[in-house]
Amino acid sequence: MVTLTAIRTFNIPIQAPCITPENFADKTIAELKKLPLTEGNRNVTLGDLFKIEQSPTETPNIILNGDLSKVKRVGQAMKSGEIVINGNIGMHTGEKMAGGKIVVNGNAGGWTGSEMKKGAIEIHGDGGDYIASPYRGNDLGMKGGLITIDGNVGTDVGCHLKGGIIKIKGSAGRFLGYHMTDGVIYVEKDCDVRAGACMTGGKIVIGGALEILPSFTIDSVKPKVKVDDSTNIVGPFYVFLGDRSERGVGKIFANKVANPALKFYEKYL
């Protein structure tokens, strides 16, 4: 196990794609200190920014301490192992991740778990915008794995989602699951406007209040809904089909008790 502690507060963005369990495996402290990073436009080494300690324990592989909200791309393309971050972390954490686990005991920045294929990310704080969403002009959304967030999330979460599960215990911003084709998003509390816009498949489950786009149509009322193999959420839920402007058959489950404004849809059943 390697523990990295920030030596000073960081004011300039740091790009640290080298912090992955694969990269740290079988390296001595002297070798780890030489790993390259960039602080703004300057080339620095891991030893310049972090105090590095090694201990014989196996898991987790890496522990990061301090306010790292300016540190980007931690755990990029990692395949195995575990990273624990005690503090806030910056953007692009765990992007293109293909296995392993990242635990954030703080808030995470935007694009966390972007283009993720497998593995798990746990955020015990708030999440930023564009969680599990691809980059601009791209439709390579999250394909598999699990992201759980204890707090709230920003806008455009789970865009172009192609598989995997996103569980949000707080509330979500607008354009949740934009253009999603498969996979599941579960929000325990409220959701801002335009959830599931342009979706063609998959499932969005909202426990709180939400607004339905005019391009969705009501399908049925269901007593409960399955999020994953171990979780069933008890409703009742209105089930909406859409987005019909994209000829989609995605499903939005809206809690009947929390959404009295959607009662008028019952006349179409």
Binding site: I12, P13, G40, N41, G137, R194, L213, P214, R244
Partner: protein, 522 residues
């Protein structure tokens, strides 16, 4: 002695009108023909402002002190090379040649490079990257468009000659002007108002107070049966453009996405479960969708009401998707109403040089593009950068105060012709020439057609153009880097733009031969 220059290009808005007639006396513009009021304000009065900066300045002990250009360039280069994460912002009101040097400077510094489109039509560019765009030049629209939709924009105020030159009030080859119809409508309206006023005076009845948001009722039958060009305006309030239009659709604020989504469903022959969308009854939307489907060549122009309201680039994405759906039934074009005269050029030049149109980060040595991460407002809000260079823009007048506070924590370099709000706050203040008035260069019209701006008067002595100034700073930055033993890039041979005011020499030898006339057969 006065002289007149014809076909001068107006350096104000994205229309780049190229038919101005400018009269010059004693190296000053005294009169102008064909231009709009905004153009006249800048070209006849604005550029001669008393606030013109004539010497470079550096802030010493809290006060701006005039210095030589060499000293200011050295100071600026020192600030930029010392910074770990500088931001170069602005670019939309300067010429393409200067923007090209700007990209080179950003690459040399490892800086973040952003242009004004990140606070205006950046979302349109992002939406285009997501879904593509069916586009046409303004000439196509002038000659062929028979349905013009202005969505969330007010060209009557922001692009005053757009309607007159390119859309409803222009005589195209296949479509006529609606100017006479509008005048008749205006006369009828004023007559009706006079009668109403007179009858009120007789009856002595207090006029009822009209609610601020009012729905204008179902579309008039003329929308369907009216011959010639039709113009629809969609906005949250009744603007001047809306008064000119054949039909005005007043929607609730921030509901553009929902209304377009509903229109898409109607265009693809689907029923809606709701009665009203964004405050508009679905039956009315159906009539609008019919008008869109029944036209021969339609065009949607959208403005900042769509790009900077709730949803931002998703609004544009869905509007482009509507144009795509309509193209299955008829011919439909969609186009942004770009603001500054060369903001399209900033996107085009950046994209041509780096592959990306704005929000660039060169800190890794290669360009990284990510709006939301590298855009000026987001970057300054997080307080990431440690030096700023602003060129041909005034963020101090337009950016939120938190962002300006973060910007002013670090050194600030400004390049502007006159003493605007940002120049007053700068640590190094450079003067520059007015492009399009004092020097020539290339600008891109809102439909990405490049047009050469003309030089009409001489600049005050000693003031450099944006391009020359940036080259000086770039050379100084390279000199500092060489001293430090860091690798530097190389500039290509400098391209000098021909002075367009000079008339080209007439080559008599290459005159076209006269057409041979056929001899009549007896």
């Amino acid at each position: 002695m006065s002289k007149t220059i014809n076909n001068v290009v107006c350096p104000i808005c994205g229309c780049l009108c190229d038919d101005l007639e400018v009269t010059i006396e004693n190296n000053e513009i005294v009169k102008m023909k064909n231009g709009c009021a905004v153009c006249e304000a800048k070209m006849v009065h604005g550029y001669k402002s008393e606030e013109r900066i004539l010497k470079p300045m550096i802030r010493k002990d809290g006060k701006l002190v005039s210095v030589s250009i060499d000293e200011a360039v050295k100071k600026a280069a020192q600030i930029l090379t010392d910074a770990k994460y500088p931001l170069l912002f602005g670019w939309s009101s300067t010429v393409g040649e200067a923007q090209r040097i700007g990209v080179e400077l950003a690459e040399e510094l490892g800086a973040t490079l952003d242009n004004c489109c990140s606070v205006c039509h950046g979302p349109s560019v992002m939406a285009t990257q997501e879904i593509g765009i069916p586009a046409a030049t303004l000439g196509q629209i002038r000659h062929r468009a028979d349905l013009i939709v202005y969505w969330a924009c007010n060209p009557w105020a922001s692009h005053p000659r757009h309607v007159e030159r390119y859309t409803a009030f222009t005589d195209g080859r296949f479509e006529g002007s609606e100017w006479k119809n509008y005048l008749q409508k205006l006369k009828a309206d004023s007559g009706r108002k006079k009668i109403e006023m007179a009858s009120k005076r007789i009856a002595r009845v207090e006029p009822p107070i009209k609610p601020q948001v009012c729905f204008t009722g179902p579309p008039p039958p003329m929308l369907e049966h009216k011959p010639g060009r039709k113009m629809i305006v969609v906005d949250v309030r009744k603007t001047m453009t809306a008064e000119v239009a054949d039909y005005f659709l007043q929607i609730e604020p921030n509901r553009d996405y929902d209304v377009i989504e509903a229109l898409r469903c109607l265009v693809t022959d689907q029923e809606l479960d709701v009665d009203k969308v964004g405050g508009i009854p679905v039956d009315t939307l159906r009539d609008v969708a019919d008008a869109m489907m029944n036209c021969e060549f339609g065009v949607i122009y959208f403005g900042l009401g769509m790009t900077q309201s709730l949803g931002r680039f998703r609004n544009i994405e869905i509007a482009i998707a509507l144009a795509r759906d309509l193209n299955r039934k008829t011919k439909f074009i969609i186009s942004p109403m770009r603001g500054h005269f060369n903001v399209t050029g900033a996107n085009t030049v950046f994209a041509w040089q780096t592959g990306y149109p704005f929000a660039l980060d060169f800190s890794q040595g290669y360009p990284q593009f990510n709006p939301g991460e590298n855009t000026a407002v987001d970057l300054l809000k997080r307080g990431d950068n440690d030096a700023t260079l602003i060129i041909s823009a005034d963020p101090a007048a337009h950016f939120p105060s938190v962002i300006m506070q973060n910007m002013l924590k670090h050194p600030l370099i400004t390049i502007n012709p006159d003493m605007n709000a940002i120049s007053r706050l700068g640590d190094v203040v450079f003067p520059t020439q007015w492009c399009g008035i004092e020097y020539s260069g290339t600008a891109y019209r809102m439909d990405a057609v490049p047009i050469t701006l003309k030089k009409v008067v001489e600049a005050p002595p000693g003031i450099l153009t944006d391009e020359e100034l940036l080259i000086r700073i770039l050379e100084e930055v390279r000199a500092i880097k060489i001293k430090r033993g860091e690798p530097v890039g190389q500039t290509e041979a400098k391209f000098t733009h021909p002075n367009t005011t000079k008339t080209p020499p007439v080559n008599t030898a290459q005159k076209k031969p006269k057409r041979a006339t056929k001899k009549k057969v007896a």
